[in-house]
Subunit: 508 residues, 2 copies
C-alpha cells in the first residue's frame, strides 16, 4: 500500500511537472515540418525529370553538376546582376562559353533538335568561310547598307540599287579582318551595345529577317546549300545532338549554269545529304524535314501552296515529317486564315505549327487555339500557352509537345530575365510535354543546342532540378519527334550508347 | 412508270452532280469553327470576371472602355514600343495619367487596397508640403548624400556624420524650386534615366529602402504620423478606394516634448484617425491594420516580437487584422526561421504573409510553401506562385487570395514587360483568387490604386477581359479582406452605391 502511494505520488508529480504546452508545440512543429517535406516531395514528383532514377555513376555526374549549379545560384543571390540568366545572353556569352557547366552540357548527349530553321543553323565562322568560295559577288543596298551575295561566273547585271563587285576584290580592298568583321555584324544579331536591351520585338525582328536576306544569295547556291546543311549536322553532332527536325521554306536554289532547283529537288538534296551523313557518322540518328513556308501567302496563292504540300508529302512520305508556317506571328496571317485549306489536307500529313510566339494576350496568341484544333502534333514556342487554360488542357491530354526555345525568346525580345520564361512553369509540371530547342542558333552565335540547355537548366528550372531533368529533356526530344515507333527505338539505342559514354567519362 | 424513271434519272444525276468532297470539307470546317467558339467560351468562362453579368448601363460603360482598350491594343500591335505596359512605367507616366482609360479607372470605385505599407502611401507633393512645418531640421549624410529629418524646438545635437541645419534656412539658401526638386528625387524612385532599365533587384531595393530612411524622421513625428495616414485615406477615397488594410512596422514615434510613442499607442492613433475619417466620410468603409515588422529579427529578439503580436492582438482584436513580415525576401530571413514561433501564436491571429516576391526558383520562393502551411489567409505578391503547383492547389482549395501588385513588381525589377507578369495567368483562371494592390504607391508617384488597375487591365488581362474583370477585382478586394461577414455586407453596400453612381455618370 505504501509502495502504491509512493508510485502514485511520483507519477502525479511527473505528469504535473511535464510541460504539456511545450509538448503540443513540439508536435505542431513536427507536423508542420513533415507537411513541408510532403509539399516539397509532391512538387518534386510533378516536375520534369522526376521519373528518372539515376544510376550510381549518374549520381556522381549529378553531384558534380549540381555543385556547380548551386554555386552559380548562391553567387546570384549575392549579386543578382551577375547571374547569367538575368542578363541578355550577348552580354555574358564569354562567361557562359568558358564555364564548366557549359562544358558538361556541351558534352552531354542531348537527343535531337526539333525546332530549327534551314538557313539559321551554322556557326558564323563557317558562313564567313563560305564567302571565300570563287565566283562570289556582292552588292550593298545604298539605303540600308545590307549586303547581298550571288555566285556567278560573270559579274551579275547591275541595277539601280545593286552594283555588283567581287567579294575577293572587296575583301582585299578593305583588308581581310575589316571585311570579315563587317560581314559578321550582318550575319548575326550579336552585339553588346546596351541599346539592344531596349529594343522592341518589331525592331529586332526586322534586323532578324534582314539576316535571312543577307545569307540568302550565299546559301541558296545549290552546291553550298547541301554543304551548309551537312556542316550543321556536323556541328550538331559535335554539340552532342544526334537528330534533327528541320523546318524549311524550300526557296529556289540556283547554280552557275542557270539552273533553278525547286522544292522536290531541294528535298532530294536534304535527303541525300542526310543519307551520306548517316553513312559517315554511325552514331547519327537521322533527320526529317518540316515544310514551313512563310505565313504571308495571300488567298490566291493558297491552293498552289497546299498542292505543293500534298505533292511533297506523297513524294517524301517519311522524310517530310509535316507542315508548318513561319515568320513573325504578330505580323503574319493567323492560322485561322489558312484553316479551311489545312483541314483539306490528307490526315496523314502532320502539323507542327508555330503558335503563341508572342507577348500579346487574346490577339496573336489565339493561334494556339487554332493550332490545337487543327491537330498539331507539337507547338512551336507556345510562349503564350499559360494564358490559355483550354489549350493547356488539350496539350496535357493529347501530349502535344511544346518546343521551348529560351535563347530565341530572349534575343527576339519576348522576355528579359530568363527566370520569367513560361518554360519555368512547364518544367515544374511534367504533364506538359516539353522539348528544348534552339530555333536559329546561327543568328545569336549559339551552339546548336547547348546554350538553350544551359538556360533551361540554370534559368528556367528550379534549384532542385538536376541531371534527371536534362536526361528527361533529351529523352523527350526523341519521344516527341516525328519518328516512327521503330525509328524511335533505334534512336533511343543510339542516344543511350552516347549517354553511357558520357556518364563513363564524367564519372571517371 | 415513265414518270418514275424520269424522277429516278433526275435524282441520280443530282446525287452524282453533288460535290460530296466539298460538302464534307464544309462540314469539317464548320465543326472546326464551332469547336473554336467552344474553346474561346471555355477560356472566357474560366477567366476572372466571367461570373459578372453587366446591366444595360454597365454595358454602355463597358463599350466605351473596351473601345479605348482595343484602340490601345491595335496601336500596340502596330508599334510595340509604344504600348504602355511594355514600357517601364516611369517612361510613360505622363501618357498614362492623361489617358481616357486612366480617367475612367480613376473614377471607378475599386473597393479596397489590401496590400500597402505605412510610410509609402501619400503623394510626393504632400510629403514635400510636410517639410514646410515649423521646427524641422535636416542633415545630409556626407557619404551618400541622403537626407534625414527631425522635428525639434532646438537644433538637434550634431554628430560626426550629421550636421543639423534648419529646413527653412536650407530652402531659402537653395531656392524653393531647387530645394524641392532635390528633395523630390530622394522621396521616390521616379526617374526617366534609361540606366534604370538595367538595374538589378538588389540595387533598386537599396534605393527603395533608402526612401524609408529619408522620410522616417519626417513621418515618425507623432502629429504628422496621424496627418499622413489621414491624408492617404483622403487620397485613396479621391482615387475611388473606400477601404484599406495597412501593413505597418509600428516604429517608435516622437514629439517635441521628448515623448516616445510605442506600438499600442500608434495603433491607437491609427484607430482614432480611422474613426474620425469615417465620421467625416460616410462612404468610407473603414481600415484595418496588419502588424508587419521587418524580417531581419534575430532569434534572441523573436520571443519579444511574438509577445508584442499577442498583446496587440488582445488589445485590438478587430482593428488589428493580423501579422506579416516585411523587407526584401531575397535578403531577409525565410519564413521557416520564424515558423516555430508563429505556430505558437493563438489561432485567432490571422496571417497575411509576403511570399514569393522574387524571380528565384527553389530558393527564396519556398516561402510560398511555408506561408501556406502556416495558414496564411492571403499571400503578399506571390509573384513566383506559378512555379509551385502544390501551393497553387492549396491556394485554389483554401481560397488564399494573391495580392498582385503589378507596378511594384515592375519598378522593383521582377518583370519588365507587364505582359510577362504571372498575374496574367492568374487572371485567366478564376479559381485562383486575386486582388490588385499597390504596395508603395508614394515611391513611384502612382495614385493609391489606379495605376495598378490600369496595368492589370491593359497589360495583364486578355484582350477579351472587360469591365466585368474590373468589377470582379473590386468585389474580390472586399471578399478577400479581413473584414467580418457583417462588415463585408456593409462594405458591399457602400461600394455598390458608389459603383451605381459611377455607372450612372459614365453611361449618361
Amino acid at each position: 500500500m505504501l509502495l502504491k502511494v509512493v508510485v502514485w505520488l511520483l507519477a502525479t508529480s511527473a505528469v504535473l511537472a511535464f510541460d504539456w504546452t511545450e509538448f503540443r508545440m513540439e508536435r505542431k512543429y513536427k507536423d508542420y515540418l513533415q507537411k513541408r517535406s510532403y509539399y516539397l516531395a509532391e512538387e518534386e514528383d510533378r516536375s520534369v525529370g522526376s521519373d528518372i532514377e539515376l544510376t550510381a555513376k549518374e549520381q556522381i555526374v549529378n553531384e558534380r553538376l549540381m555543385a556547380l549549379k548551386r554555386k552559380e545560384l548562391a553567387e546570384g543571390l549575392e549579386n543578382p546582376a551577375g547571374f547569367i540568366p538575368w542578363n541578355h545572353m550577348f552580354d555574358v556569352l564569354n562567361r557562359i562559353n568558358s564555364s564548366e557547366i557549359f562544358d558538361i552540357l556541351r558534352r552531354m548527349p542531348k537527343g535531337g533538335i526539333l525546332h530549327a530553321h534551314d538557313t539559321a543553323l551554322c556557326s558564323t565562322d563557317y558562313v564567313i568561310s563560305l564567302t571565300y568560295e570563287p565566283n562570289l559577288w556582292q552588292c550593298t543596298d545604298p539605303e540600308t547598307g545590307a549586303l547581298s551575295f550571288k555566285f556567278s561566273r560573270e559579274a551579275p547585271t547591275n541595277t539601280e540599287t545593286c552594283q555588283w563587285t567581287s567579294v575577293a576584290a572587296e575583301r582585299t580592298k578593305l583588308g581581310e579582318e575589316n571585311y570579315n568583321s563587317g560581314l559578321r555584324s550582318q550575319l548575326s544579331l550579336y552585339t553588346t551595345d546596351p541599346i539592344n536591351h531596349n529594343r522592341d520585338v518589331d525592331s529586332i525582328w526586322r534586323q532578324f529577317m534582314g539576316i535571312f536576306g543577307v545569307n540568302d544569295g550565299l546559301l541558296s547556291y545549290a552546291p553550298i546549300w547541301k554543304a551548309y546543311y551537312k556542316q550543321f549536322l556536323k556541328e550538331m553532332m559535335e554539340d552532342g545532338v544526334q537528330y534533327l527536325e528541320l523546318r524549311g521554306t524550300l526557296p529556289p536554289l540556283y547554280d552557275l549554269d542557270g539552273k533553278t532547283y525547286h522544292e522536290e529537288e531541294i528535298l532530294h538534296i536534304y535527303q541525300d545529304a542526310t543519307r551520306e551523313f548517316k553513312q559517315e557518322n554511325p552514331t547519327f540518328i537521322g533527320a526529317k524535314f518540316i515544310y514551313a513556308p512563310v505565313r504571308v501567302v495571300d488567298d490566291a496563292g493558297l491552293p498552289a501552296l497546299m498542292d505543293k504540300v500534298r505533292e511533297l508529302h506523297e513524294q517524301y512520305p517519311n522524310f517530310m515529317a509535316g507542315f508548318d508556317l513561319v515568320g513573325q506571328e504578330d505580323k503574319g496571317r493567323p492560322l485561322i486564315d489558312f484553316s479551311k485549306e489545312i483541314l483539306g489536307l490528307p490526315d496523314s500529313i502532320n502539323f507542327f505549327f508555330h503558335a503563341g510566339e508572342t507577348n500579346w494576350n487574346g490577339l496573336t496568341d489565339d493561334n494556339l487555339i487554332d493550332a490545337v484544333l487543327l491537330g498539331t502534333k507539337r507547338i512551336g514556342h507556345g510562349y503564350a500557352v499559360l494564358k490559355h487554360p483550354r489549350v493547356l488542357k488539350q496539350v496535357k491530354r493529347d501530349k502535344i509537345a511544346l518546343e521551348v526555345c529560351p535563347v530565341s525568346n530572349q534575343v527576339l525580345r519576348l522576355v528579359a530575365d530568363m527566370r520569367n520564361h513560361p518554360g519555368a512553369v512547364l518544367l515544374a509540371n511534367k504533364e506538359y510535354p516539353v522539348v528544348i530547342s534552339s530555333d536559329d542558333p546561327s543568328f545569336w552565335e549559339a551552339k546548336p543546342l547547348t546554350h538553350d540547355f544551359y538556360m533551361a537548366f540554370l534559368g528556367l528550372a528550379s534549384e532542385r532540378q538536376d541531371l534527371r531533368l536534362l536526361k528527361q529533356l533529351a529523352i523527350n526530344s526523341i519521344k516527341y519527334s516525328a519518328m516512327t515507333p521503330l525509328e524511335k527505338m533505334n534512336a533511343m539505342r543510339l542516344w543511350e550508347a552516347e549517354w553511357k559514354k558520357f556518364i563513363e567519362e564524367l564519372s571517371a
